[in-house]
Structures are given as C-alpha cells and as structure tokens.
Amino acid sequence: MAFHPSTCPFCSCGCALLLHEEEGRLLGSYPRVGADGRAALCIRGWNCTSSGSHPDRLTAPMVRGSNGLVRVSWRKAVEEVAARLAGAASAPLFAVGPTLANEDVLAVRRLASLLGGRVCPTDLSGAPVARFALGQVLGRGYGIRDLETIAGSDLIWIFGADSDECPQVASRVAHARRAGGAIVRFDVHASGGGDGSRAVTVPPDRIGLLPLVLQKAVFDADLSAPEARGAAGFEGLTDRWRLGLSPGERTWLPDEAAQALAREFRAAQRPVAILGSRWLTSAQAEIHTVHLLQALALLGAADRVLAAVGEANSWGSLDVIGQGTIPAELACREDGLDTLCVVGDDLVRRSPRPDTLADTLEHLSTVVVIDRFRSDMWPFAHVVLPSCTFAEMDGTTTNVFGAVQRWHRAVSPPGDCCPERVWASRIGRLFGVECWPGEESLHQSLAADGCAAPQADRQTHLAFAPPADEVAPRETGFDGAFPMRMVLGSHAANWSTGAVSQREELLRREVLESTLSAAPAVLEELGIRPGSPAKLMVPGGEATVTVRADRRLPSAVLVLVPLAGSSPERLRGCYPGPGRRSIGVQPVPARLERA
C-alpha cells in the first residue's frame, strides 16, 4: 500500500492529489495541499482513478490488415509506422491532444521536425483562444496566478460561465461573495439573483458586441487607467472611438448602464474577470476575447483575468507546440494532406462536423493513432499504439496559472502501453534520431528546441494592436425555420475529460443523459412537459433530448448540456469558413418541437 503524489488529470486547474495504490491497483484519490495552500478536489478529482482499467483501454499495438486491426508486437508496429512515414507523399501532420505531458508533446514535436512535418493542437477553442488574446494584449500567455486571487476579490465579472462549470472557481466566487464581494454575470441568460449576483443578459447574436460597448463606456466616462494610456496602440484605440464608431442602440446594456459598470470596476480594489467556456467557445471568440481584454486593460485589469477552461495540459501543450498553429481540425481539411498522426485525442469525437471529417480521414494514406482508449478514430487508423494514463508515467503539465506540476508513476501500465515520448523515440530511432534522450530537464529541452518555456513569469507588455478583422459582429437575425439560438452549457461531472478517461462509474451515474434547458413559457407554448424528450433541430441535423425548464432563460435561448459522444453533442454547430482565425461552435440557430 502506498500513496503517490500526483496532479489531477481532468482540467487545467491542476489540483494536487495523492493516489492510493495497493498491489499495483489504484483504489482512490485524496486532496493534497497545493500551491495555493488548500487541499480540495472536485467530483472529477475524487473519481479520477479508474480510467486505467476501463474496458476500452488499449493495451497492445495494432496494425490494419485485410481483416481489420490485428495485434502485433510493438517492434512490428513501429516498423510499420516508420515505413509508412518514409513513403508518405506529403509531410505528416501530428495532431496533439491537450492531455499529454509536456515531455510527450516535446518528443512528438521533435519527431515531426525530423520528418519535416508540423504539429497542431486538437483543442478547437477555449485555451487556444484565451492564450491568443492574452498574448495579443498582455504579451504573455497566462492571466492570474492562483485561485485565491478570486476568493479575495471585491468585484468579479463573469463572462459566459455556468455556475457549476468549474467547482474550484465557483467555490472561490462564492467565497468572495460571502465576504461581501460583488458579482456581475454577463451571459445569454439572466442568472442573477439566486446567488446574489447581478446579471447583464446579452442576446446570443450580440455577445461579440459586449467588449466594444465596455470599451466605449471607458472612453465616454474617461475611465482609462494610467498604465493603459502609456501602452502601445492606445492612441489608435482612442481614435477608433473618437471617429464616432458606434456599437448601435442597445436595450440590453445602454451606454449609461455600461458606464456605471465600468465605473464600479475601475473603483474596485481587487477586481477579477473570469472567462467561461460559453464565452471562449462562442462564435468569433478570438476577436471578441481580444476586444474584451482590451476593455479590461483600459480599466487597469488585463492581468487579472482567468480563462476558466482547459484540460490537463491545454496550456502547457500550447507552450511546447508554439504559437501560430491552427487547430488540427482545420489542418486536416487542407488539400494535399496524406499522412496524419493523432496523439492522445479523438479528432472525430471532438469535431463539430464529424461526418465531413470522417470523409477526409477515409481518404488519407496513413492514419496513426497513439492513444489510451479505443475511440472514434479507430475505423480510420492504420496503426494504433497504446499509451499511458497519468498514473502510469512520470511527466509534467502546466496549469492555467502557469505552474508546472508533476505526474508521478503510481502503477505499471498494462500490456505494451508506454508514454508517447517512448513511441516517438522508437520511431525516431528508425530514422537515426533520438526524440527523447530522457536525461534533460524539460526547460533545457524546450530551450534547445527553440520552444517557448512556460510564460507565467514573463514581464507583461501591454499593447492595444487591434486585430485586422471586422470590429463589430454581424447580426445573423432569426428566421422562421430556426427561430431560436442554442448555446452550450456544462456540468462538472459531464465536463470534457478528453482521452484521459472514458468516464468513471460515479461520474457516469451523476449525469445520465444530455439535457436541454428552455424557458418555461416556451415549453408551455410548445406543449412540452419538463422531463420529457423533445426534438432539437439545427441547420446541421437533429436529435432527441430530454428537456428541463429554466426560469433564467429568455424565450429565444436554449442551453444544451450534451453528454460526450451523444447524438445531441453532434449538434454543437459548425465552423466559420476556412481561413478565418476565429473558431466558434456556437450560438447555433435552432428549433424545438415535441418529440
């Protein structure tokens, strides 16, 4: 029996934990005092230990033959991969998931570099959006340094987050509220009141206008912070508003109300802004988030932002991959791609357009999958290599605060499973190159490869260079076929865990099915009883989903909480056209009918 220190693999908070192991089997997890001095886990952390023995766990390498995938020795599988890579018609694309350890991402990057290929993250939105915007405005990839900054705040602005989305963040918000702090929620539904917060209800199609309204309020009321006035690009930003740009008339946040909010924020001693998943996955989120951070910078608080999203190593893997890469989803759809290696993720399950992605994958000469579990990538894979879960290897991850943390090996991996760095090394050796020497520290390795080291300690360089794109969002309007807007909601127990786990039993039991929330008046009008199934339709398809009544919702807004892999999840939406920087998956025009 032993207790092994480790880090929770389920989100970018990276809570410290102890793994209880007995006779080579994980029995449970317990909170450990982390960097913030607290020892607490959310429902995911308390239930993180059973993924290693899941029935869908991959334990042996497989190579596709005439009868499908068949088990082979690791040596034969590696030789097959090397032969395919050597004979590929184009440079390979490596799609890297957000739950890999930094060391594994680096080894894959080295292998890609050796082969003249490139590495792209599988993350579509969320952390990549936040990092891009933080980099544009602050010159660094991380915002606030710890959760206790939230607990100690006297004013918190929350943009597009469900209250139970991240329990660690929610608990700090509640702590601040109990201590007298004010909470303002900017969202598509009016959630104020119940927990003492105030709400600014933004129409789903106008989410992107909100930052511009706040910017305008800062200039109208002359509230800009001294440090903002001295920053690069400030004059240009000022000119934008001097030239009379107008976000138009608004009933949902008139100029006077916006100025009052800005005044309150500017007057606060310890303000904080939290960007939730609904914000960071909304259409045009990248542009909107840059604009929002500009507004917060004008108010003197661009570095007091928490982007409360991300998987275990969303932030660290982006550090290692480097800036400027497009999501693998888009790279896969580029012409000329012939060879794809998907490492630690399920591109099909993650894709908002799985059917068209499947078409693309079917036509590739080579698809190599390195993963821990059987996934929807399975039918397309020519070679499958099994990898390790967090408890079966040593490694580091970088959390949303920029802290590098450790996974320690607590149990042995089953079968032929080994870390991605080992697979990369084995493949690299057949090309005469060592991708993971093993004795280097991560930071030395990153420096040797010219990667950005974790940027938390970098100096902030505030800048207001506006992105060269449209300023105001386009209002799509409502039409008769799809008169409503669907946005995504989340629940901690049903939160994306990537390929770390295929759901622990207790988590599965907590959230049994996908649900759709709608205003009670809408349900009554449509004759739909809460708790019964209804048909949800979007331009890309339809699904049947159980409906709940939510008094907070305006009549035109539906909030879908989809179970991973369910048919409702496939209705999340669609990408903007190719070539756009912004990756958005919502809001989606929608229609609701009785099933």
Binding site: H4, A39, A40, A174
Partner: protein
C-alpha cells in the same frame, strides 16, 4: 496494565517487533505537507509531529474500492476470490485457519474469523447470472473477500480517528446485519493511538468527544512527553504487544504522569476552532432550520463528495460491476457520497433528493440529529477537521453548525 514509557529512539524497534505478527502501518510523510499511513521501511522515519493523516484510517479497513468477487464467462460463470486464480476457491479459503495475530493473549481472547464458515452455509449470494448459467451452481459466501495475510497494527492513529473507527465498527456490526469482512479487519487490528499535544487549525474534537485524549477505542494510547512516549495499555491485545517488546518499555514514573496531566490541561484550552454541536443538533433534530436556509447554503455546495470521503465515520457505498474483459466482471464495493445527485435516484428515475438542498439537509440530519444518536450511540462527527479543510463551500460540520448558530435564531 499500569502506564509504561518507551524512549522515542526505541519506537522503531518496538514497531519492528510487531512486524512478526502484524502488517505495521505508521504515519509517514509524503512530500512536505502530507502525512499518510504506510508500511515501515528504512527510508522514511515514523512521523510524530503532524496534525493528522490525509486519508482517514477507515480506508485501511473499508477501502474506497474493493473487489467483492469476480465473474467470468457469460455462459458459464465461475467465481474467483480476489487474488485467486482457481475457480470459486471458496472451499479452500473457508478451510484455512482464522487469522491469528500470533500473540497468544489476544488470539485466545478475540479469535479472528474470516466469516467464511458461517456465511458459506447461511447466506447464499446470487450473482444474478443464474438464468443464463444453468450448468453452474453459483457458490456462496461471496461477501467475504480474501483475508489479509496479517492483521493490521496501526501506530499513530489520532484520537478522533480511533473514535471514528469505533463508530464504524458499530455501524458494520449493528442493526441486524453484520459485515463479517470489515468487522474481522477492524477487530483483528492493533490500534495504537497517538494523543494530540497541539490541535491543528481545523480540529474541533474537543467539542465532539473525539479527543484529544481517549478513555476507550484503543489498545494502546501513546502520548508524546518529549524524549519519550507514555503508553496507556488498555486491552489484552495491547498488553501482548508491549509484552513482546518488554525490554523496550519501563513503568511510568510519577513525573511522567505529572507531565501528561500538565499536557492535558494545556491542550484542552489550545483549540481555536469551536463548534456549536448542542444547538445545531437540537435545531436539526427538531426541524427548526428554515428550508430557505438549506437552499441558500446548498448554493455553496460544489457536489464534490469530499466531505463524505474524508469523514472517518461516513460509511456509504455502492456496488457496481466493472467489466474486466469481454465476458468477465468484477463486482466492486465503491465509496459513495450522499451529496451526489445520483445517490438516491431510484430505478424508475425518480429521485427523492434531486435538489441539492435536500441532500445537504439529509446529510446533516444523518450526522447530527438525536434520531441518529439514538441509533449509533453518538453523533456522526468526531471533530477531525478534514471536512473543514476539504470543503470548498464552507459546508463542513463545524462551519455549518456555526452558520446555523449565527443565522437560525
């Protein structure tokens, strides 16, 4: 037995003597801040200066996940006890001798049973697979998983945790059903508590009859007197353990007992955290807390279940089948939490406590009401303070009782 003392440097030798008869566990440090119970080795010393272990000792007797039995084959199931590669294997296990501590005194007074003998004949357990497995008569006595090779000897258990173990023993032994497996583990163990000489910031055992010193629920109670430990030996099992290392112990001198008395007086007033147990118990029992208050407090609950998992007295579990192969399963007992939404969901889908406020109210009723004190002999909190540390929402026993006191006049 009169009180004894043992020099601190001799403690490892004493524990080493016990390893002949017991699997000896002691508090050891993992990293800088965390202390856990683990087996002795030469690398990490036994920790004497700590507030409490991260995990409650219940995990040693009632693990958070435990395989009850293994089911192999959909058409022709065979059953395996954990650790056994032979089908059923029950007869062999049942015929093996009861676990002995090896210490005659205790072995003669409290023989440890695996429970297999009685259960094999008295309580057939169904796997639910009989209809598809007519060829196989499913065997019996499955609730008894394979007994450990040796019983546990736990040094350094805090008073609150020993009180919690006594509570659990009553739970698993009482009310018309006995869990032989867990009871055998608890009753075979040698419990060596380490009384607290300085409370931690979250501790409130002094309000809960959980410490800092005990008068029962231990075999040997050690108290730190600086360069030596005072040993209060209360059971024959404890006497046998001390007797097996008699050269290391000396009878306590009067100055040892004086030092202990001074320490008791000092520690009793050192607690910074107090809890309004009596008032909270009365209001909870009599339903004097407005529903709106429960709903308001429930807003702060993050549904993590941590308060239940770290609690030394919480005993709720669920039973699940975990697939281990194409047609094989492990039936497992897994800790559950009454604050999880799925905890009381019924097969029909109806959930009598779907609302978080109802679950929170139920938890506190279960922990603190007169009704449960009547059943369990005491309330369900021993004041260890683990829930204070782990609850993100300020809904731990101590804080919520204070909120009840402050907000529910």
């Amino acid at each position: 037995m009169r009180p004894m003392t043992i020099p601190k440097p001799d403690l490892p030798a004493f524990l080493a003597v016990l390893t002949g008869s017991y699997l000896v566990l002691a508090p050891r440090r993992v990293g800088e801040s965390d202390v856990v119970f683990s087996e002795l080795d030469d690398d990490t010393p036994v920790e004497l200066d700590f507030v409490n272990t991260v995990a409650p000792p219940k995990t040693l007797f009632f693990p958070s996940r435990e395989t009850l039995f293994h089911i192999e084959g959909a058409r022709r199931p065979s059953l395996h006890l954990p650790g056994s590669s032979v089908a059923t294997g029950l007869e062999a296990s049942a015929s093996e001798s009861p676990v002995s501590t090896g210490l005659e005194a205790s072995a003669s007074e409290s023989p440890v049973s695996t429970g297999l003998e009685a259960s094999a004949s008295e309580s057939p357990v169904s796997t639910g697979l009989e209809s598809s497995a007519s060829e196989s008569s499913v065997s019996t006595g499955l609730q008894a998983s394979a007994p450990a090779d040796k019983p546990l000897a736990i040094f350094g258990m805090r008073s609150c945790d020993a009180t919690g173990m006594a509570f659990l023993e009553r739970f698993f032994a009482g009310r018309g059903f006995e869990d032989d497996t867990i009871l055998a583990r608890i009753r075979a163990a040698l419990t060596m508590t380490l009384a607290c000489h300085a409370p931690g910031p979250d501790c409130f055992c002094v309000c809960c009859e959980g410490g800092p010193w005990l008068t029962s629920a231990f075999d040997i109670q050690f108290s730190d007197l600086g360069d030596r430990l005072l040993a209060d030996v209360r059971t024959a099992k404890g006497e046998a353990a001390v007797g097996a290392a008699s050269t290391l112990f000396s009878p306590a001198a009067s100055e040892d007992l004086d030092a202990w008395s001074r320490q008791v007086a000092k520690v009793d007033v050192a607690f910074e955290r107090r809890s309004y147990i009596a008032g909270g118990t009365k209001r909870i029992s009599l339903g004097q807390i407005p529903q709106a208050k429960w709903e308001e407090w429930a807003e702060d609950c993050q549904d993590c279940g941590g308060c239940c998992f770290v609690c030394p007295t919480c005993s709720c579990f669920t039973v699940t089948d975990r697939q281990t192969g194409d047609d094989s399963f492990d039936r497992e007992r897994v800790w559950d939490a009454c604050l999880y939404e799925g905890f009381t969901r019924e097969a029909s889908g109806h959930n009598p406590r779907a609302a978080k406020a109802e679950r929170l109210k139920r938890r506190f009723f279960h922990k603190m009401s007169y009704q449960y004190i009547d059943v369990m002999g005491r309330h369900g909190c021993v004041g260890c303070g683990r829930c204070v540390a782990t609850c993100m929402g300020g809904l731990d026993i101590s804080t919520l009782l204070t909120r009840i006191h402050d907000e529910c006049h």
